[in-house]
């Protein structure tokens, strides 16, 4: 496939129409070398955790067997990573407090920070985004997607760009699709196989450099005006409004970056520019999108279909290197995903207690957990089907699954939900993060249901968040505003 014939004007027309890089990606497929493959992170929230013990694998190390409700993940067993024995310390699951454990857990799971009144720090994918985007600017710094995730409040906020500032998730997959792919002329992925496309055949209009330069200058002049005006009104703003103007400016910088990204791709594509004039910091090396870059085919409807559509979008956005940082929020703390007709998720998970649990409730909880496993299998299947370098998209994407609570009443004699033996688990990322295909048993107290001395007896989840940051090259030793400890999870093996 030749790229030498794509006019910049056409490219710029694409941004002009879509405000995005919708036509960037298909122009860029080129050999992806392992060294140039991006490191990506996807954080996934689902409410209520899972029912123990059917969630946890048995066995240790690579010699493990998936939990009975998670068997749908069997095909990707070698790409999963379980840490059995984490505790989310500091979220309120034990002490009487003005919150309940759901919201405090949801706020803390990816931020490592306590909720007061909202989480006191960014979530891990946003922290990684800050770090990576400063070095390489993709079209979008990050995407926040959701299904039934509401608008931010104490009980709905999971992912944060910084302290007290939750991100608002886009719940309409079609909208995100339009922002990313409306004018995309490349191939369309098949709806269900997820094998991706093989690059499109593109028209060959003549190159008109002067026109595209002019269009770029015009776009830039608009961006400049917005920046000037933001600076002007900022002087009139109070403290909080000043911060909001600053955030708006970041959004404008990102838009400016997209305009420059396109302008840089002067054909022939193989001549990567050496002196990109980025607004601030260098721009991501174009051309990192692989042949798997294809327009997603969003066909799903209903709750399951909405979730699958978001997963299709995530796969495509990563494959086309539109961003390297995405969060996916399913539901809110304590519910929002009533997937099984007549069996409310909230009721089901709260109905579980050890000796009190009636068999139908145990079975219903397992039905929910299996339903989630099927969703995760869909996601892993899509991502693993896209070849990239010497592996797959999944190998170059660390997926971190987390929740607001888990259901482990029987193990510790607490209420139905709490935050010990916490299911913060991972998939993918085997090319750059951790050795996968393992179930690691962390040392923890078998009887201690939690106490201020818990820190000494459990591995706190901030250790894992720290490990993840380090896997992306961040120079950190702690994560979150309330980290009670230091360092990574020592039992994890970095690759």
């Amino acid at each position: 496939m030749s790229f030498s014939s794509i006019s910049r004007r056409k490219l710029l027309a694409a941004i002009a129409a879509g405000g995005g890089v919708s036509r960037l990606a298909p122009f860029l497929p080129r050999a992806v070398h392992a060294a140039s493959v991006p490191k990506r992170i996807l954080t996934v929230f689902s409410p209520m955790g899972y029912l123990e013990p059917s969630f946890w694998p048995t066995g240790t190390g690579t010699n493990y067997t998936l939990g009975e409700t998670m068997t749908a993940l069997q095909p990707w067993k070698s790409k999963l990573l379980y840490l059995d024995g984490l505790a989310m310390y500091g979220a309120q699951w034990f002490f009487s407090n003005p919150d309940n454990e759901h919201a405090s857990g949801g706020n803390m799971v990816f931020t490592g920070s306590k909720m007061n009144p909202l989480a006191g720090g960014p979530s891990i994918e946003q922290a990684v985004a800050d770090f990576q985007y400063a070095q390489a600017k993709t079209a979008f710094r990050s995407l926040a997607l959701g299904v039934n995730s509401g608008t931010p409040s104490q009980h709905t906020a999971i992912f944060y760009s910084k302290a007290q500032t939750p991100v608002t998730a886009q719940t309409n997959a079609q909208t995100t699709f339009n922002q990313l792919f409306a004018n995309f002329t490349g191939p369309t992925a098949p709806p269900s196989t997820g094998t991706g496309g093989s690059g499109g055949t593109l028209p060959k209009p003549p190159v008109d450099t002067s026109a595209s330069d002019r269009l770029q200058r015009q776009k830039q002049s608009v961006v400049d005006l917005v920046k000037d005006e933001l600076a002007r009104v900022r002087k009139l703003a109070g403290t909080e409004d000043r911060e909001r103007m600053d955030a708006h400016l970041e959004g404008i910088n990102s838009l400016e970056n997209r305009i420059k990204l396109l302008a840089m791709n002067t054909p022939p594509i193989n001549s990567v520019p050496t002196t990109p004039s980025a607004p601030s910091g260098p721009i991501a090396t174009p051309g990192s999108a692989g042949a798997g870059c294809a327009k997603p085919n969003l066909t799903g409807s209903g709750l399951t279909g909405s979730i699958h559509s978001q997963m299709d979008l995530i796969t495509a956005a990563f494959a086309c290197d539109m961003t390297r940082h995405i969060s996916l929020q399913l539901g809110i703390c304590d519910g929002g995903i009533d997937a099984i007709d007549g069996v409310g998720q909230h009721d089901t998970t709260h109905a579980y207690g050890d000796t009190k649990a009636a068999p139908p409730h145990v079975e219903n909880h397992k039905r929910y957990d299996r339903w989630y496993a099927d969703r995760w299998a869909y996601l892993l299947g899509k991502m693993d089907a896209i070849k990239e370098g010497n592996g797959t998209l999944l190998d170059n994407t660390l997926i971190v699954f987390g929740s607001d609570t888990t259901t482990n009443h029987s193990a510790f004699g607490l209420g139905p939900h709490n935050h010990i033996r916490f299911p913060l688990w991972m998939a993918g990322g085997g090319n750059f993060a951790f050795k996968t295909g393992q179930a690691i048993q962390l040392p923890h107290s078998a009887t201690d249901p939690g106490s201020p001395a818990l820190v000494a007896r459990w591995v706190t989840h901030q250790r894992l968040l720290t490990s993840i940051g380090q896997a992306f090259g961040m120079n950190i030793d702690t994560f979150g505003s309330n980290d009670p400890g230091k360092g990574p999870v020592t039992q994890l093996t970095r690759v």
């Binding site: 309940n100 299904v147 922002q179 002019r214 909001r244 997209r258 304590d334 929002g336 909230h346 106490s451």
Partner: protein, 568 residues
């Protein structure tokens, strides 16, 4: 013991489908002791303090010196954005593409949280397409300015920037602001005059003065900042008409008419008589009750086997009906809180005919008067019942009761204790609401909060999950809609929803709450102590007679809170 606040958040999302306690309740002190954790060790139920902060009477509240909170700039909501583009350029813009607006309590206000990266991109693409469309009819856009002759184009551009810029920024342009737009024009003009004008429109629609209600004000003798006429014009216009100021209001701002409370009142009186105000009153109630959530097919669901009629058409019809209902009250009726709460008519058009049944026969105006007392005001409209609960649960009575407490009485019901465990009986579907929720009353800790909600919810048992009237519940049991409402002046038992609504409509607590809700709707923040006088004046209006909404809102716009802001 004061109970914590979080359940309101949870239930406001509509996602806690009722709670059946059997463990420690919502106000107990929890001891970190395993042996007690399953047995409700040491709950100490007290009367939960759910009442909203008390507002002193008008005389007391308005006697001190005036103070006003600083507040925050509001970013236009998706609807306001679309309305403003319509008024500026005569175009229809879809709101699709924007992230959901952030809310103050139940209302979309965009007063909190920064804009997201993707929305800034959406602004850019929408501005680009709007500008492109606008210059398709350049002559109209330029107001007939004649571009012929030497320097004609630049002259028209200068005039356009001055006029259009002022309307887009909703403020006269400073020299710097004009110069910035002129620079953009010149960049485009290098290609063509039309492109120059296009870029001006494209840039202005992305400028913060268009996207935000930028409010600076001027120092005042009292240590407050007095909003200038243009800032007041924007506040008035967005509150009362949901869009940017019209020519009349801009003229008033320019002439200093809006610098006094009287001048504001003169204009506001005209504005509250417009259909646009009716539209905003509709939006207020639709958001207050949460009927806007009907549009989200995953957020509000029904069993597809039991309620196959609950499709997109039905969802739209329910929201439309509430609009028609509020419009009728505002334009044909008394425009009062009392009529909104207790009118005996519905609008059974389209799929709603089936929900309301054969007894609801619409007249020429689309209105069906329900003589048998089964429909009474906003609370018994099909849409209200259909969004509470949002997701299927046999215990919808809790959600419905909570909705009344939270939205109409401004109560803050605390969350249940974290370790509450409940088990639905296997035959839950066959039980009456009273049987199912009896456990709440058997446990003193649960009872403390649930007696406030469940017994209101029982009154709505006559309405099925689509809001259709029924005499027997899903389990085939005859419905007992008696209940009790406590904590309001006219508290006591009732036999059905109609009687309950009468109690609510007459209660001062509901009128006080409506003043709080209107305050949130207008300012995008909760009222604070400093706002006591503003609120007290509104409350006086709302308690007078039937509680005229126009009078209350007119009092609001003349207040210090509306015309001033706190210092930086």
């Amino acid at each position: 013991m004061k109970c914590p606040r979080l359940l309101s958040e949870l239930l406001s999302a509509g996602l806690l489908s009722g709670v059946l306690f059997s463990g420690p309740g919502c106000s107990g002190s929890i001891v970190a002791d395993e042996s007690k954790s399953n047995t409700g060790g040491g709950p100490n139920p007290g009367d939960p303090d759910i009442a909203p902060p008390e507002v002193p009477d008008e005389k007391t509240a308005c006697s001190g010196s005036s103070t006003v909170s600083q507040g925050r700039w509001r970013r236009l909501t998706a609807d306001q954005y679309s309305n403003a583009v319509r008024d500026l350029l005569g175009q229809t813009t879809s709101i699709a593409g924007f992230l959901p607006d952030s809310r103050t309590a139940r209302f979309k206000t965009n007063a909190a949280f920064p804009v997201e990266e993707v929305d800034v991109g959406t602004y850019a693409s929408k501005a680009e397409s709007a500008a492109k469309l606008a210059v398709g009819n350049l002559k109209t856009l330029l107001g007939g300015c004649d571009t012929a002759g030497t320097g004609g184009e630049d002259r028209c551009a200068t005039q356009f920037i001055k006029d259009f810029g002022e309307r887009a920024y909703r403020h006269p342009l400073s020299t710097d602001e004009s110069a910035a737009l002129m620079k953009v024009y010149n960049m485009g003009k290098a290609e063509s005059f039309s492109v120059g004008i296009k870029l001006v429109v494209e840039a202005a629609l992305q400028a913060p003065r268009f996207l935000y209600m930028v409010e600076s004000g001027m120092d005042d003798d009292n240590g407050l900042r007095k909003l200038d006429g243009f800032e007041v014009a924007s506040r008035l216009s967005f509150l009362l008409t949901g869009t940017m100021p019209d020519a009349d209001l801009f003229a008033a701002a320019r002439n200093g008419v809006l610098d006094t409370a009287d001048g504001v009142a003169t204009h506001a009186r005209k504005m509250v008589d417009s259909p646009k105000f009716t539209g905003e009153v509709s939006r207020f109630h639709i958001e207050l009750i949460g009927v806007d959530a009907l549009a989200d097919t995953t957020a509000v669901t029904k069993s597809t086997t039991k309620y196959p009629d609950f499709n997109d058409g039905m969802r739209t019809a329910m929201a439309d009906e509430m609009r028609k209902f509020v419009s009728y009250v505002m334009e044909e009726g008394s425009g009062s809180v009392e009529e909104l709460m207790s009118a005996n008519y519905v609008f059974p058009s389209g799929p709603l005919a089936k929900v309301y049944g054969a007894g609801a026969v619409a007249g020429a105006d689309g209105r069906a008067i329900i003589e048998d007392g089964t429909r009474k005001g906003l609370l018994t409209l099909a849409g209200t019942q259909a969004v509470h609960p949002m997701l299927p649960t046999p215990r919808g009575a809790v959600n419905r009761g909570h909705m009344v407490r939270r939205d109409f009485l401004c109560n803050v019901v605390p969350p249940p204790d974290v370790r509450v465990e409940f088990t639905l009986p296997p035959n839950a579907e066959m039980m009456t609401a009273q049987e199912l929720l009896r456990a709440h009353m058997d446990n003193p800790t649960c009872k403390a909060c649930h007696s406030l909600m469940d017994s209101i919810g029982f009154g709505f048992e006559n309405y099925d999950p689509l809001g259709a009237y029924r005499t027997h519940d899903a389990g085939g049991n005859e419905i007992d809609a008696t209940g009790e409402i406590v904590g309001i002046a006219d508290e006591g038992v009732f036999n059905n929803a109609g009687e309950m609504v009468d109690k609510l409509a007459a209660s001062p607590e509901l009128r006080e709450c409506m003043s709080t809700q209107w305050f949130r709707f207008a300012f995008g923040r909760d009222p604070e102590e400093a706002d006591a006088c503003t609120q007290a004046k509104m409350i006086s209006k709302l308690k007078e007679g039937q509680g005229n909404i126009r009078d209350a809102v007119l009092s609001l716009v003349q207040s210090d809170a509306f015309r001033f802001k706190g210092g930086l």
